[in-house]
Symmetry: C2
Subunit: 209 residues, 2 copies
DNA sequence: GTCTATAATCCGATAGAC
DNA sequence: GTCTATCGGATTATAGAC
């Protein structure tokens, strides 16, 4: 019976990834699983309940991707890889990326369920950890790790969101470049002088006003 | 007849702002207007059509708010006011803010309608203008205005979005402070040395690792 | 107990009378 | 321009089959 639930959830993730939020229905899900729609309500309280578990799967996938960044040899390397992993996850799984950050809007929730609130906080914590060890290694200026982590998270999330939603009229390769450039511009103010110089040394030609 | 359409649109905005996307239905709208549902289809092709015009109203309201920032006396002042106006709009009209940036997800559109794409670009353009005049005034480093504008827009949008969606467990006053702090941290890397020093001079006490 | 089907209710959208 | 009537599809409570 717990097996049935898992099988349904697998199909639910596939359906959401294929058809998106507005294309997701319990009837379609039932057809995919091979049962009638009401049967699903034996395993899940509601459509919302199913989607909330899909959000959980999305989070799991994100953390799987982020965890690869921890294989880097140095704090700076892990930091850089984390940024790349976040972008890579978003471009590889745009629907999961959207679901993770905007399920409250999608399903009209007034407040975030505790389970998912904790998961969201752990994305923030992951960044705080990367920041903290870069501060300790003298790569980032000594500042509040939570504040720095929030700047970086907000920027990366915002930029990727604008792109995924089609609000930045750029092809993917140009967007990857814009992401890198934008990240570098933020780092110019966060890194220690010696690292900031290295960062600024590679920034591209500009029109001098 | 154009008057009827306007009256329906007014009720549509109220209904969306009150009940959100998932609480918005043509039948509810018809009840609010005082007609039956099919009558609405004389004035709007579909529910999607109605909501697209609501997005237009949201954009109008955003630009009305942003335009107040242009009353500042100096480029720096207009720049600062623009940031505050964007935050103020989002906190005063969170549903409009969400609608403006994520209507594609809401209504399952594959691409952004041209009319709204142009409006989104003009938000970007507004920031580019603020950045350009600050560069010319020697407040921001001479860099690509579009690139700088994108960093600022992405960061502000991302941070506000995370908050509105309940992913940052902070009360509003604490969030306003976090927004200001985060903005200042970004500016540290974008402003010219003299202005950056002024900026860094006010940053709060930190634990030195 | 575990699963399924029927049916009530709501939604978006259309057809056709007035 | 608006109504009545109606279709197809959605969620979900209830009652019945294994």
């Amino acid at each position: 019976m717990v097996d049935s639930k898992h099988r349904i959830l697998t199909h639910a993730c596939d359906l959401y990834l294929a058809d998106g939020f507005d294309g997701f229905s319990m009837r379609k899900l039932a057809r995919a699983v091979g049962v009638t729609a009401p049967a699903l309500y034996r395993h899940f309280e509601s459509k919302e309940d199913v989607l909330l578990e899909v959000v959980g799967e999305a989070h799991d996938e994100l953390f799987r991707t982020l965890s690869h960044a921890l294989g880097g040899p140095t704090p700076e390397d892990r930091f850089r890889r984390a940024g790349e992993a976040y972008l890579g996850f978003a471009l590889a799984n745009p629907r999961y990326f959207q679901m993770i950050h905007s399920f409250t809007e999608f399903m009209g929730l007034d407040e975030v369920p505790e389970e998912l609130s904790r998961r969201a906080c752990s994305v923030g914590q992951f960044w705080h950890d990367r920041v903290r060890e870069c501060i300790e290694a003298g790569i980032l200026k000594p500042d509040d790790p939570e504040g720095i982590g929030l700047v970086l998270w907000a920027h990366a999330y915002g930029l990727i969101s604008l792109y995924i939603r089609g609000l930045l009229p750029l092809p993917e390769e140009a967007f990857r470049q814009a992401y890198t450039d934008s990240f570098r511009r933020i780092m110019a103010g966060l890194a220690t002088p010696e690292h900031a110089e290295a960062v600024n040394g590679v920034h591209r030609e500009v029109k001098p006003g």
